[in-house]
Each structure stands twice: as C-alpha cells, then as structure tokens.
C-alpha cells in the first residue's frame, strides 16, 4: 500500500472574497463571495461582460491591491493582511501581461525583457541569454535590439509577453493578451502558454474572449456581476461540444446529440498541401475545421476557401455519391472528423438540423 499523495498546493486558492471600491455612500461592491482554486499546470480562461469584476479579481490575485475581506493564497502564500509594501515581493513570482504593453521606448526589446529578469538572481549574461531565448520563442529572434518604436503593435505585445514569461513564473495572469496579435502571433503565444503549463507546471489565468485560446483552455470560468456564474472543466469532448454549439447547423442539436457527436469525433491533423479528400473517391466523413485553412478545387479550379468553424464533406455523406470536389490544406489544418452513422442519427433526431444541413447540401451540390 502506498501512502496517499497529498494534493499539490494550488497556484491560486480563493475563499470568501469580497471587494468594494470607494467609501461611505459612494462605496460599491464589485466582488461577492468569490471562491476559486486553480491547480498548477491549468490554463484557465476568465470570461464575462465588462464590469463583472474580472479585472479586479486579477489585480487582487496579482497582489496589485490589498485585500479587504476573504482569503487569497498565491503559490502557497497568504495575501490577506499584507500591506501594499509587503505585496511587492509576491508579484515577482507572477508573470503579468497587461492590456497595454507599456514598454520603455528608451530600451531595446531585449532590455525591456531583462528589466523583469533583473528582479531575479541571474548574472548579466544569463539574463541576456534568457531574454534572447524567450524573444526567439515568440518569433522575435531577429528583433532583440529593436526599440519599441521600430516594432509593430503585435511585436510590441509579444515583447511584453516575453517580459512576463522570461522568469518562467509559476503563475501567469493575463488580460486580453492576444487582442493586438495577428493569427500567426496568437498561435505562437498560445502554444507557448500551453507549453509552459505542461513543462513548468505554470498555472495561467487569463481574461480573454479569443476562441483560439478558449479552445486550448482547460477550464472556462464565467463571471457575472461580481460572482462566478459558471465554472466548467473543458476536456476534449466538452471543448468540441462548446465549439459545435458555435457552428451553424450543429447549434440546432440538443445536448445529447451534441455530446454523442463530440464523443465520437476524432481530431485529425493535415500538413499544408496535403489532400484531405479527393474528387471521385467514396466518402462517409464530414470535416469540421478547428484551425487552419483549406481550398476546395473542382476541375482544377479553386471554388472556395474554408477556415475555422466551417465544414465540408457533407455532400457525399448525405447522398452516398463520390466526392464532387478535392480539398487541400493550404496551411497546417486541425479538423474534427464526424462519421456518417453519427450524422445520420443526429439528422433523424432533429428536424431543424436536418433541414439546415440540407440547405448547405443543396447549395454545394
């Protein structure tokens, strides 16, 4: 018999947290009895309408405000009762990504990142090396000596992200980190977040509405009016379920059918140039694009390009005829594959789904 392994110290543990701004009659409460545990290695996304208390919660966890009522433990350290001054060292273990990049225009990209590294104990050369490595990972390896003025908005935001992550913090707090980023940058950043949760066991708590991040999140916390309204763990099936709800014909399905499709669908990866389906082949699979772009060819002519949340292949599945077009990946593509049997079952259960899918079928035939 082995001894029971004690559960790891949560990266964040919040209990009975209340917070109010102002005093006297002007006082208004923004957080009500919030309780939340986030274990190491979890990528948690915080959503909610503006004014729901997301940012206040983030600043309290980050030690940027003193607590009023309730308890927050960050990386095993109790923040309650700490003065503004005592909160300063707590922040050093946290990677902050702010909405504004706030880089010093007088410093190069590398120096801006090193400002964060110099809070640690590394030597100058170690810090320089670490800064360059981190910038390289974010695709800025050739821009280390550039001042912010010479960088694009997305590049600046990536420097700010490098500054937050360079210390390899065990907790990362971020507020809309990908708002200023293009598709390619976002992919790099999200991959890096995901890798840090896996490799260094870092916990990430992020305010975002970017579905590219939500798709990769382990957990989705929704806040309304200063309270946690829902808190969902996202495994692969439920993530696909969430995704399907946002795709037009599938949104007509009830929860049971969605869940069954999600459970049986498989995620497949295609390299750029790879043929996903070929005209004339028999086909009994529907493809739903999660990431990337494909081109649809008929008689050697491109007739359409499809991207995330769009699907193809339903024509053969419904009619039983051979494929009427060739579909080729133009970039790395992740697509969910839904089998004919599951699709047929869903069409039998939901008239609306059948009708909507038929409309696509008729249009594309």
């Amino acid at each position: 018999m082995s001894l029971p392994v004690p559960p790891p110290t949560p990266a964040i543990r919040i209990d009975g947290l209340d917070f109010a701004y102002g005093q006297g009659p002007a006082r208004y409460k923004v957080l009500f009895d919030v309780a939340l545990d986030i274990p190491p290695g979890q990528l948690a996304v915080l959503t909610g309408p503006s004014g729901s208390g997301k940012t206040t919660l983030l600043t309290l966890i980050g030690g940027l405000r003193s607590l009023q009522k309730g308890r927050i433990e960050v990386l095993g350290r109790d923040l309650s009762g700490l003065s503004a001054r005592e909160l300063v060292p707590v922040r050093r273990d946290i990677g902050f990504i702010f909405q504004m990049h706030n880089l010093f225009d007088s410093l190069t990209a590398s120096e801006n990142v090193r400002m964060a590294l110099e809070l640690g104990s590394g030597s100058r050369d170690e810090n320089r090396h670490a800064a360059h490595e981190m910038l390289k990972e974010l695709g800025l390896g050739n821009r280390v000596g550039a001042k912010p003025r010479m960088l694009s908005g997305g590049q600046r935001q990536r420097v700010a992200i490098a500054r937050a992550l360079a210390n390899r913090p065990r907790l990362i707090l971020a507020d809309e980190p990908t708002a200023a980023l293009d598709k390619e940058s976002t992919r790099k950043v999200v991959t890096l977040f995901k890798r840090m949760t896996v490799e260094t066991g870092a916990a990430v708590l992020m305010v975002t509405h970017d579905h590219r991040i939500i798709e990769l999140a382990d957990r989705l916390i929704h806040m309304v009016d200063g309270r946690i309204a829902s808190d969902v763990m996202l495994d692969n099936e439920s993530r696909l379920g969430e995704f399907l709800k946002s795709v037009e014909p599938f949104s007509a399905l009830n929860l049971a059918d969605l869940t069954r499709i999600a459970e049986t669908a498989t995620l497949r990866h295609f390299e750029p140039g790879e043929v996903i389906i070929r005209a004339g082949d028999a086909g009994d699979e529907l493809f739903l694009i999660s990431e990337g772009e494909v081109e649809v060819m008929r008689d050697d002519h491109e007739v359409a390009r499809l991207g995330p949340a769009e699907f193809f292949g339903e024509v053969s599945v419904i009619s039983g005829e051979p494929r009427n077009a060739t579909v080729i990946a133009t970039e790395p593509v992740d697509a969910y594959v839904v089998e004919k049997d599951e699709l047929d079952a869903a069409m039998q259960h939901s008239t609306r789904f059948r009708q909507q899918l038929r409309r696509f079928f008729n249009r594309r035939r």
Binding site: G62, F98, L107, M115, A164
Partner: protein, 396 residues
C-alpha cells in the same frame, strides 16, 4: 587563448551589470535632451557668473593686501578693514625699528578719499587710491612695476600709475604728464594691479610727494601700515609678541596671513557684497530647481505607465527612486558641462570689459557643480512623489 579571453573579461566589467534605465531614458530623445540640457545650462551659467563675480570681488579686494611684501604688518587696532584711512603716529614706527629680530621695516602711506586724478579721457577729476612709499626703504609691495621702479619716485612730483585701472581714467594710455588734485605730476612708470570694487584706479608716489599734498613733511606724516621683514631664522610669533609688548595697545601686529584673513573676513561678513552675490547664485539655484523639476515632471508623466508596470512586476519604490534621481543628476551634468565651457568665454569677455579678475577656479567649479547636483536632486525628489504614488493596479 588566454591573451584573447583576458581583455574580453576586462571589457565585460566595464559594461553595466543591469539595464542602465536612467541613462537610456536620458538619451532616448536627442531633442528633449538638448532642451533639458539648455534649460539647466542657463541656470548653471547664472550661478557660475554670480560665483565668479563673488570670487573676483574677493580677489580684487584682497589684491593689494596680498601683495604686501613682508612677514608682519602693523596697523591701527581700530581699523575695521585695510582700505580705510586710520594711520598711526610716526614715533610708533621708530619703536618698531628697535624691536629685536626685525631686519627691515618700511612705512606705507595710503589714502582713499582725497586724491582726484584728472583723466585725459574726459578731462574730469576722478577719485583714485594713492599708496606712498619711502623710495629708499625696501619695497612695500611685490607688485611688478612698483618694486623695481620705486627709485624713479625720488624725483619730486613723480608717480607710478596702474595700467589696469578702469579705462575712463586713461591710465592705460600713453601719458607722461598728468594732474592730481590740480597739481602737475610726471608719470615715471606703470605697474599692474587692477581696480577693486571701491577704487577705480591706483597711483603710487614717494613719501615726500605725498607729504607735499598734505602740506607737511615725511617725518611728520602719520603712517597707515608698517611692513616688516624678519631676520633669517626668526620665529614670526615670537617677534609678533615682542612687537605687541613694545607698542601701545592702540596698534595691532598681524602676520601677513592674519591680515589677509582679517580683510577677507570683513568682505565676507561685514560688507554687503558677498550676500548680494550669494543671493544671485540662490536665484540661479531656484530657477534651476524649477527648470529641473519641469523636465523631470514631463519625463515622469510620459513614462508613468512604464513606471507603474515596473511596480506591478515587483520593483520596489527604492529602485524607481534611485533611477529617477540618477536620471535627474545625469540631466544636471548634461547641463553643467556646456555651461561650464560657455562660462570660460563669458569670464574672459566680462573680465576684459569690466577689468575684473574673473577666473575659473576649482572652488567655483566644485561649488557650482555641488549646487547643480543639489538642485537636480531636490527637483528629482519633488517629482519623484508621482512615481511613488503610481498605482500598479491602474494599468491592468
């Protein structure tokens, strides 16, 4: 291999261990730096000129005393400054000569209020300072042009004039005959001493000529000061004691150094000149502090989100304060250096026009540097409150 790695390690030590934020912020914007530098330089120049004037005032006021050519000087104990007429009786001078240990004693006669030099420039009489010496006694002044030409004064009505006197006196001109209190005098030579803030020009004559103006004889003339040289291996303090004992209490015996100190005490503490210059320097200091504050305020306002971010990621107020103050001091130095260089030219031009001994000295350099750094530090500390008050929670 070793030969290659060693110098590299040496160079690495020269590079700063941390990101030099203060320096980077200072030089980030060349135009802003130029404006800041010019603003500070203006205030520094103001202070340098005032301090220079103050110093030249002292130098000029002490010039005559410092050139007295002796070990001990005797003058009336009731004199509050050198440049005022308060002579002692000739019989006391005779007493001085009898005291043991003295090699020579030379009388100095002087007057600051009775002599008018008719200027060849405007043909009008101007008040001048007059020193009279015994041409046969050892030289009273070590001023070049007096010591080596005093025998020329043996001819009656001969004078030596100061070619560095103020220009309106015309003593820099090629004059041989002139008028002093309406009496024709012969200019036997020139020396170079320069005016101070009380006298515009100086005339040196013999005791006989001087006595003539007062309708008396040299033997009966009261003496302004006795300039004494000691025999070799004599202790000045000992002789000073013996002299004090031999002379009546109305006379005071100074060593040369004591006399210079006595005179500079008067100028510094009793005259109104020193406070005027210090007030001028203070105005420069206040103006400089305001300019410096304005510079730092703008600087900090522009970088507020950045400083707040640094606080947000865990920097202490102490680090930020250090960086801001360092930048403020660097701005001060950026203004000081050009002002110091410019001031060399200003001293040269103003000194030439105003006949002031305006020279850049270590004293003025270090004093003005300390004031500059002080005003930048003060301004930095006032501006700093903004950074201390910055709320990192505001930037999320």
């Amino acid at each position: 291999m070793t030969a290659l790695t060693l110098p590299r390690r040496g160079l690495a030590r020269l590079r700063p261990a941390r990101v030099p934020l203060a320096w980077r912020n200072l030089v980030a914007d060349k135009w802003r730096l130029a404006r800041a530098s010019a603003g500070i330089a203006f205030a520094v120049l103001l202070m340098l000129v005032q301090l220079g004037f103050e110093q030249s005032f002292f130098t000029a006021s002490l010039a005559a005393v410092e050139q007295l050519n002796g070990d001990l000087v005797v003058q009336n104990a009731s004199k509050y400054r050198f440049g005022t007429r308060n002579p002692f009786a000739p019989k006391d001078f005779e007493t001085i000569k009898t005291v043991a240990g003295i090699a020579t004693a030379a009388p100095l006669y002087a007057d600051w209020v009775d002599f008018f030099w008719t200027s060849p420039v405007d043909n009008k009489p101007h008040l001048v300072r007059v020193f009279a010496v015994d041409p046969d006694a050892p030289a009273v002044f070590s001023i070049p042009g007096i010591a080596d030409q005093q025998t020329r004064l043996k001819t009656d009505d001969s004078v030596l004039i100061d070619s560095e006197s103020r220009r309106f006196l015309g003593m820099n001109r090629n004059v041989t005959e002139a008028k002093l209190n309406g009496v024709s005098v012969h200019v036997a030579g020139k020396f170079s001493l320069g005016p101070d803030f009380m006298s515009d020009g100086t005339v040196v004559m013999s005791d006989r000529t001087f006595a003539y103006f007062f309708r008396t004889t040299p033997a009966a003339m009261p003496i302004e000061a006795a300039v004494i040289r000691l025999q070799p291996n004599q202790n000045a303090a000992e002789v000073q004691k013996r002299l004090t004992a031999a002379l009546p209490g109305t006379l005071k015996v100074f060593t040369k150094a004591e006399l210079v100190q006595f005179e500079s005490n008067f100028q510094a503490k009793l005259s109104s000149a020193a406070p005027i210059f210090w007030l001028g320097a203070l105005v420069g200091f206040v103006v400089g502090t305001l300019i410096s504050y304005q510079i730092m305020y703008t600087e900090l306002s522009d970088r507020m989100p950045q400083y707040a971010t640094l606080k947000g990621i865990g920097y202490e107020n102490g680090y930020l304060a250090g960086s801001v103050l360092r930048q403020s001091l660097l701005t001060g130095i950026a203004g000081y250096v050009p002002a110091w260089l410019l001031c060399l030219a200003v001293y040269r031009v103003v000194g030439h026009i105003a006949l002031l001994p305006l020279h850049m000295t270590w004293r003025v350099t270090l004093l003005s540097l300390a004031l500059t750094l002080g005003m930048c530090l003060l301004a930095g500390m006032i501006a700093l409150r903004r950074v201390i008050a910055a709320d990192p929670a505001e930037i999320f």
